[in-house]
């Protein structure tokens, strides 16, 4: 649709109205990238439907005209998942931002995709409930975007991910038909397609309603800060906490550079040290206090020089503010930076950290480290200066090398930011070809024409109906023991 005909634009306009269609180049600029700004593609038009019916009508036209589309929430994603597709349209769900139903006895909330993550908690907080997934961008990111990316956050160690808290979805499939995956009750008979949809990065359709599970606020929350000489001692303390059979609500770690940046940005009053640990326990008061004294012992025995317990909600909020602002805070200490997202088995932390340090020294580029340490999710921040020739490329290479370290350690190329446009090429390093082909066969069931965010996740998109992968010889066949029948 190189030349998106005027008749198609006019037809789209009749669906969403004048205010729901953006097609002037100056306004389209806002939509040419998401939170990952180094990829930019100008969409042909942006549609802002305000109902499921409008989404269906728009998608039906896309299907009829073979126009690729990309659904977009708040555009805070960090992997280019909402990056427009060449000659395609963007469907922004920003106007579908109603909380449709709050059902406290059943702990369910039904929302439209444009609802902001933190607003769900805001709505149920008076009754002491909360919506558990808490990505750092939770004050601006949308539930629809969270569903696409299976967003995590600091508290998923105990509470799980977006997928844990999505019970059901209303989805507009890429042919415009409407389906209901999962539901308000558990174990709806049939395949767990809600489980497949969450985290599919917009490649299987557009969610238009989401049934969420909310959680009762624990009796108390205690947050401890412990300062260690380096991330090695902090990491050893994390291992001991886990080995002691505890499941904290969150365990976060920051290295010295990350602490400096956070201090500069929000004055979180962090102790200056080589490795800072933030441990949060929640639950019944007596339980939490018993466990917290054990955590303190563990920190001390691993060499913590300073241990602080947040004394008030305000102190606790400040501690978290520093952590959640850590990415943006890099702007205080470096002109440019790349946010990486990788996962390793927690036990590989010391080895991977020393490798990152080695890479950093080799390239002369600084790397700040922020981790969800409890579940091995690393966020190395590679600092560079774009004005210095060659640094950007060196930073990208270093950032990719860190992911290769994660894969080699038995981990993953992304724990919560998604593959999107950014990490497509890394997928073939983490998965074998039959794995990727099988995933794409599932995709073909949802989207045989490959219209829904078609260029993301997979390094080599396959046409649906394409011949399946090659025959793999059985080992005994290769060994000459048996022949192919």
């Amino acid at each position: 649709m190189n030349l998106m005909e005027a008749r198609i634009l006019a037809e789209l306009r009749t669906i969403v109205g004048d205010r729901g269609l953006i097609s002037s180049p100056e306004e389209l600029h806002t939509y040419e990238c998401d939170g990952l700004t180094n990829f930019r593609v100008m969409p042909r038009a942006v549609l802002l439907p305000n109902s499921t019916e409008q989404v269906q009508a728009v998608v039906r036209i896309c299907h009829r005209e073979r126009i690729p589309f990309v659904a977009r929430g708040s555009g805070t994603g960090l992997s280019g998942g909402a990056l427009p597709v060449e000659n395609g349209i963007v469907i922004s769900l920003a106007r579908m931002n109603r909380i449709l139903e709050v059902d406290l006895p059943n702990a369910r909330v039904v929302v439209e995709p444009g609802v902001i993550n933190l607003d769900v908690t805001g709505r149920v907080a008076p009754q002491e409930y909360f919506y558990a997934p808490d990505p750092s961008s939770q004050s601006i990111c949308s539930i629809g975007g969270n569903v696409a990316e299976n967003s995590g956050g600091a508290h998923c160690l105990k509470y799980g991910f977006t997928t844990t808290h999505v019970l059901g979805l209303e989805v507009v499939l890429p042919d415009g038909s409407l389906v209901h995956l999962g539901g308000k009750t558990l174990d709806t008979p049939g395949y767990d397609l809600a489980g497949v949809f969450v985290g599919s990065e917009g490649t299987l359709g557009v969610a238009t309603k989401i049934i969420l599970r909310i959680v009762k606020r624990p009796e108390c929350i205690r947050t401890l800060l412990a300062a260690f000489p380096s991330t090695n001692e902090a990491g050893a303390a994390v291992s001991d906490i886990i080995a002691a059979g505890m499941l904290p609500a969150a365990i976060e770690m920051m290295d010295n550079l990350a602490i400096q940046a956070a201090e500069a940005a929000v004055h979180a009053n962090y102790p200056s040290c080589g490795g800072l640990l933030l441990v949060e326990l929640d639950g019944p008061v007596a339980e939490v206090e018993a466990l917290m004294s054990h955590v303190k012992e563990i920190c001390r025995s691993n060499g913590a020089s300073e241990i602080r317990l947040a004394q008030s909600d305000a102190e606790r909020a400040l501690v978290w503010k520093g952590r959640k602002a850590a990415f943006a805070a890099m702007g205080r200490i470096s002109p440019n930076y790349i946010v990486q997202d990788g996962v390793i088995p927690r036990t590989a932390l010391p080895q991977v950290m020393s490798e990152i340090e080695r890479l950093s020294q080799e390239t002369g580029l600084r790397v700040a480290n922020v981790f969800h340490a409890g579940d091995g999710n690393l966020h190395p921040l590679v600092l560079y200066d774009r004005r210095i020739s060659g640094q950007e490329e060196a930073a990208e290479l270093l950032s990719n090398n860190i992911l290769e370290l994660c894969i080699a350690a038995g981990g993953s190329i992304t724990g919560e930011h998604g593959v999107g446009e950014d990490k497509k090429k890394m997928m073939s390093k983490m998965f074998a070809e039959p794995d990727l082909v099988t995933m794409q066969r599932v995709r073909c069931a949802f989207d045989p024409l490959q219209l829904s965010n078609p260029t993301k996740i997979f390094p080599t998109p396959r046409l649906c109906g394409e011949k399946r992968g090659e025959y793999l010889p059985h080992p005994i066949e290769s060994a000459g023991i048996a022949e192919r029948y």
Partner: protein, 430 residues
């Protein structure tokens, strides 16, 4: 493909059998006996591959030959689902029992599909860990079987279902592909979440050959209580009050029947100090006189429900309701049972999932189940019949398929286009 093989599919031509034998060895290709029948269908061969590659090859050959393949673990839940349209080969994971890697410091385990849950738990227990799941018959049930049937018990309230515990999977597809997805780390969003797709798919998309799970520590201490109530309404009030409280209970289940007044079991896990405080809060919440120490039987409540003496006069169903609909649902069951003259017993978790046993004449059971299903489906719920008398009038195990059925069929078509795996046993004729 060998055309002669296809034409001989029903009789399992000796040439094909020879191929199977060449792959896995003579002793692991056996003629099926009456004991291998699956819901009335009599398969012809039982094959026990030793490796996942062998398993994938057996599956590929069977698929090419047009044979219907029934994956089998411990065989404890083979009767679940609708009757099979066809059955030729039982593909058993009996030899694939290895616990490949218990990365205890990372709280994960990689295990082959044929390992029993009990053996897995014993191994994990050596490091003070567990798969936080209480499935039926763990001494026989295998990892692949509990995954395929999405079995879960009381612990689900706290730890989630298998979908929340599985972090990686390898499946064999009918075309011989061995595909992995997920991984070995708990937090991972690379690629589609196929572990969830195959969990609860009743082996109709692929055969699970190995799985990776996240683990939880065994509790330091635990303490459980039984709370008796006079009727379902009071039980409901108690359960909702607990759910709306700051208690951090591990499970909460309620028993109902036409014989005894209702009772609920609640389990706490944690430190001594934490348990004592929670006990005090519990006693505040419930009427003090009604709280007593629970017996160990709360762990086996579901198996007791399944321990019926007359399979020809018993139906067992899994029901799913909104948690706040517990009392009206129990009253509905009471009314329906009275109308159709059947006996009943139920176990309902605070999650809204429950198990219902009905006993009576097959015709009456069918009428009662139909009435119940109609009501529950009308309230966003479901009723799945997992055991029915063989002489009962036709009653679909799963119920009315939703608007998602065409999509489910499309997924099936992509992964198992020849309908080789468990044909007819799943939802909507899949």
């Amino acid at each position: 493909m060998d055309a002669a093989t296809k034409s001989e599919a029903s009789g399992l031509h000796s040439a094909l059998r020879y191929k199977f034998i060449a792959l896995v060895g003579n002793e692991y290709v056996q003629a099926a006996t009456a004991a291998d029948a699956v819901s009335g269908a009599q398969p012809k061969l039982v094959i026990e591959p030793g490796t996942e590659r062998e398993l994938a090859e057996i599956l590929r050959l069977s698929n090419e030959a047009g044979l219907a393949v029934i994956p089998r673990g411990g065989g404890t839940k083979l009767g679940w689902g609708n009757s099979l349209a066809r059955a030729d080969v039982i593909l058993s994971t009996a030899r694939m029992t290895e616990i490949i890697e218990h990365a205890w410091a990372d709280l994960t385990v990689t295990v082959e599909a044929g390992c029993t849950v009990q053996r897995l738990q014993e191994t994990l227990g050596q490091h003070g860990q567990r798969l936080a799941l209480d499935p039926l018959w763990p001494e026989k049930a295998t990892v692949g079987g509990v995954l395929s049937t999405n079995d879960s018990g009381a612990l689900r309230l706290r730890f989630g279902a298998l979908r929340d515990l599985i972090i990686g999977v390898t499946i064999a597809l009918p075309d011989g592909t061995l595909a992995s997805s997920g991984g070995k780390v708990v937090k991972n969003v690379a690629g589609y979440d196929l572990p969830k797709l195959v969990t609860g798919a009743l082996g109709t998309l692929g055969v699970i050959t190995r799985a990776v799970f996240r683990l939880h520590p065994l509790p330091l201490n635990s303490h459980s209580f039984s709370i008796s109530t006079v009727n379902a309404e009071e039980t409901q009030k108690f359960v909702l009050a607990v759910q709306d409280s700051k208690l951090a209970h591990t499970f909460l289940q309620s028993h109902f029947s036409d014989e005894k007044p209702p009772a609920s079991d609640i389990l706490f896990e944690g430190t001594e100090a934490g348990l004592a405080a929670q006990e005090a809060q519990l006693r505040n919440l419930a009427a003090p006189a009604s709280v007593s120490e629970a017996s160990n039987s709360s762990w086996t409540a579901r198996e007791e429900l399944w321990a019926f003496s007359d399979p020809a006069g018993t139906a067992i169903t899994k029901i799913s309701i909104l948690p706040a609909n517990m009392a009206p649902t129990v009253e509905l069951v009471e009314r329906t049972a009275r109308t159709h003259q059947v006996r009943w017993r139920a176990l309902i978790y605070a999650t809204g999932l429950g198990w219902l046993r009905l006993e009576g004449k097959p015709g009456a059971l069918c009428a009662a189940l139909q009435a119940l299903r109609g009501e529950l489906q009308g309230q966003d719920g479901s009723l799945v019949a997992l055991h029915r008398p063989s002489k009962m009038p036709a009653f679909d195990a799963w119920g009315t398929a939703s608007d998602t059925l065409p999509l489910m069929k499309a997924v099936k078509q992509q992964l198992d286009p020849k309908n080789t795996l468990n044909p007819g046993r799943f939802v909507g004729g899949i």
